[in-house]
């Protein structure tokens, strides 16, 4: 190596810029290239067809009255695949096996149908992305019942015809007992495809071991004391609408300008350097592991941990003074489900007030069955012993049984139509992908 700088060394420059390809090579490769371009122009002419479907099932197709009649004639089958979110069904840890989910076990004993329950859904986006290939190609997704929040994914599944229309005759309990807030929802008029499972509030959960209250606003999460141990939800409805409520805007009637303001507010979390992550359901494990001290949370998750697990007794759930947004998680049946009759029977089972009460007494979420709520209140009043405190906390919690006054603070998501979806996504998605 000599001491001349490479930039002035002519041999180096020559070496760097020397042509490595002879003319013959060029011609040879050009022939290959031309062939490739020929093929590519054919490909280029093809686009990718869209998937939107606007009509319901025709006679004989899945979901039509004829089809349901045939399915019911065959009987409800002997197995159901029920896939749900974690911490959403009642548990009895003193028992092993199917008996550890009492309400589900009661169903099996009553109908003889086995249920494989999987708490595998951690995010609407990811779950939808996972089952979409099967739905697109018209195959069985492997799930009979799935539970989707009232977000874009559910709307898209309905728009694309990926869900089986429910048989109106198979849900008597729903017809009799469903609360009026959950009948004929805006995202599924007439309950053609869904029956609400539970509903909850997106608020703030924190661990009092590390966090001293009172927590009154999303701004509290930005406190440098909690840097590195604070998280927000990575779905745009929860994060975006919560941000709008924080700014004093009602999400239901918000405009794209409002969304822009909300996005700027959310960007503060990115810039703060203290955000542990934009999380989905995995926030719950993180706060249980004490990786998170304070985070956006779903009401029942925190309440359930706090009341039923001694090691999480220091958890607290609250909502900002400005208010919070409500989500509704809905049971629905994806196309080509193996046991649609059994699936709808199971969904309807939980509209029996007795079992609705069992659910809420465990997972501390809003029940879509008002009579079930009354049973919870009665149980709380009559309870004795260890159970008493837990049930009474649930029965008197505004996050499970909101008073009319409290309900003033609760908002619904912004319903997006047509081009608004794209605008909304363009504004919010970049925030989660920094």
């Amino acid at each position: 190596m000599n001491d001349r700088s490479p930039w002035t060394d002519p041999s180096w420059i020559r070496g760097m810029t020397q042509r490595r390809m002879s003319r013959r090579d060029l011609i040879r490769n050009a022939a290959v290239g031309a062939g490739a371009i020929g093929i590519s122009s054919i490909l280029a002419a093809c686009g990718v067809s869209g998937e939107a479907q606007t009509t319901g099932p025709t006679a004989g197709e899945e979901g039509s009255a004829q089809w349901w009649a045939d399915m019911k004639a065959q009987g409800p089958g002997d197995h159901i695949n029920f896939t749900n979110w974690p911490a959403y069904i009642d548990r009895d840890f003193s028992v092993d096996g199917p008996g550890s989910r009492p309400s589900l076990y009661a169903f099996t004993q009553s109908t003889g149908i086995d249920v494989t329950y999987r708490a595998d859904i951690n995010s609407n986006e990811d779950f939808y992305a996972a089952i979409r290939p099967a739905l697109e190609s018209g195959q069985d997704t492997g799930h009979d019942i799935i539970v989707m929040s009232n977000f874009q994914e559910l709307s898209e599944m309905i728009a694309l015809g990926y869900l089986i229309e429910l048989d109106p005759e198979l849900h008597p309990n729903f017809d009799q007992y469903a609360g009026k807030n959950f009948v004929d929802p805006v995202f599924d008029p007439g309950n053609k495809y869904t029956m609400a499972w539970q509903s909850g509030i997106t608020g703030i959960g924190y661990n009092t071991n590390y966090v001293d209250g009172p927590i009154t606003s999303l701004d509290d999460l930005l406190d440098p004391k909690y840097a590195g141990h604070m998280a927000m939800f990575n779905n745009s409805p929860d994060a975006g609408c919560s941000a709008m409520i924080h700014l004093g805007i009602a999400p239901e009637t918000s405009t794209p300008d409002d969304w822009q303001k909300a996005a700027e507010y959310l960007q503060k979390f990115n810039d703060s350097g203290g955000l542990r992550g934009w999380m989905d359901q995995s926030y719950l494990t993180a706060i249980e592991n004490e990786d998170l001290w304070i985070t956006m949370a779903w009401s029942g998750d925190i309440l359930n941990d706090k009341l039923y697990f001694p090691e999480y007794a220091t958890f607290e759930f609250t909502i900002p003074d400005a208010g919070a947004v409500i989500f509704i998680d809905n049971g629905c049946i994806p196309n080509k489900a193996a046991n649609p009759v059994g699936a709808e029977m199971l969904m309807d089972w939980y509209y029996d007030p007795k079992y609705a009460a069992m659910l809420t007494e465990w997972n501390a979420y809003f029940t879509p069955v008002p009579d079930g709520g009354e049973i919870v209140q009665a149980d709380a009043a009559a309870a004795k012993g260890a159970n008493k405190e837990v049930l009474q906390t649930i029965a008197s919690s505004p996050y499970v049984f909101p008073t009319t006054e409290f309900a003033q603070k609760l908002h619904n998501y912004r319903v997006l139509e047509g081009d608004e979806v794209q605008t909304w996504n363009d504004i919010f998605n970049p925030i989660f992908l920094t």
């Binding site: 090579d25 040879r28 490769n29 290959v32 490909l43 093809c46 990718v48 067809s49 974690p86 548990r91 840890f93 092993d96 550890s100 494989t116 329950y117 999987r118 708490a119 595998d120 951690n122 990811d126 996972a130 089952i131 290939p133 099967a134 697109e136 190609s137 195959q139 997704t141 492997g142 989905d280 359901q281 995995s282 719950l284 494990t285 592991n289």
Partner: protein, 286 residues
């Protein structure tokens, strides 16, 4: 003999380098570093093996998660290996696609490697370039390209697209392995066989192929390992046909199921044993 006695010319030798520091480097510091390095590389495996014996809280439901702190010793999880039907299915999928794609890749790659090692033919430079690209292209580019292709054609993704994709990225590796082996082979053995009356095809099967076999086997194992380990391309081309690494990735978002650690331990011990056996056997052979 000259009567003149000449004084030996004095040469200035450089001062001898002290032996101390040199010895210290190669005798102590470097070896310690190497041992520490090996421990660092092995640390996750040791943790996995250890924590596959950890108890979990919350019972044996279908969503147990390994706690990051040690609770207690239990071998229960080894008995409950197949508790999660999704996991068992994913492992089955991975093994099936792994074996099939490795077989296909080995067949195609062996032929290609042989051709590259022995013959000069038109398009050879292009073949070299495509092989280089397919080995060195970032997996995400490859995955996105394959998925784009299937999307553009309207082919739904599933087991067959997985098989095609896995075979694809393994071919180049097998070809390179076999080419290296074939280049080192002595052609005169084949010629000798043909002198003794064999036609080229028989000579190929009776002489070349057996000689090539260690390279072909190495290629097959490499292709199988690549397929089992693959995550990115599988995620893009599997559709609903979940493979083991993609299942693990999805399931561990909220914590690690103990079954993952158990399976990892089993796979590791199997692979390690096989490798050691293979090493001992080949040492005996030579």
């Amino acid at each position: 003999m000259s009567a003149i006695a000449t004084e030996p010319r004095q040469v200035e030798l450089p001062a001898p380098v002290a032996r101390g520091p040199r010895r210290r480097w190669t005798r102590f510091l470097l070896p310690t570093y190497v041992i520490a390095f090996i421990l660092y590389l092995s640390f996750p495996i040791l943790v996995i093996i250890a924590f596959s014996f950890n108890q979990t809280r919350g019972g044996f439901g279908t969503s147990p998660r390994v706690k990051t702190t040690w609770i207690g010793f239990t071998t229960d999880w080894y008995g409950r290996l197949f508790d999660l039907p999704d996991l068992t299915a994913a492992i089955r999928h991975s093994l099936t696609v792994g074996v099939l794609s490795a077989l296909a890749a080995t067949a195609l790659g062996t032929l290609l490697g042989l051709a590259l090692a022995r013959y000069r033919f038109r398009g050879r430079a292009g073949a070299d370039f495509v092989i280089f690209l397919s080995i060195s292209a970032p997996e995400i580019v490859l995955g996105a390209a394959l998925a784009s292709f299937f999307v553009a054609l309207g082919v739904s993704r599933g087991a067959s697209t997985l098989f095609l994709s896995h075979t694809l990225f393994s071919i180049a590796f097998v070809a390179v392995t076999v080419r290296a082996r074939a280049a080192g082979l002595d052609r005169s053995l084949e010629a000798a066989a043909m002198d003794l009356g064999a036609n080229p095809v028989t000579a190929f099967f009776k002489v070349t192929l057996p000689l090539l076999f260690p390279g072909i086997l190495a290629g097959f194992l490499l292709a199988f390992a690549l397929s089992m380990d693959d995550f990115v391309i599988s995620q893009f081309t599997q559709g609903p046909f979940t493979m083991f690494p993609t299942w693990v990735f999805g399931a561990t978002r909220v914590g690690i199921p103990p079954h993952v650690f158990v399976f990892a331990t089993i796979i590791f011990l199997t692979g390690a044993t096989l490798a050691m056996v293979q090493a001992l056997v080949s040492r005996h052979r030579t």
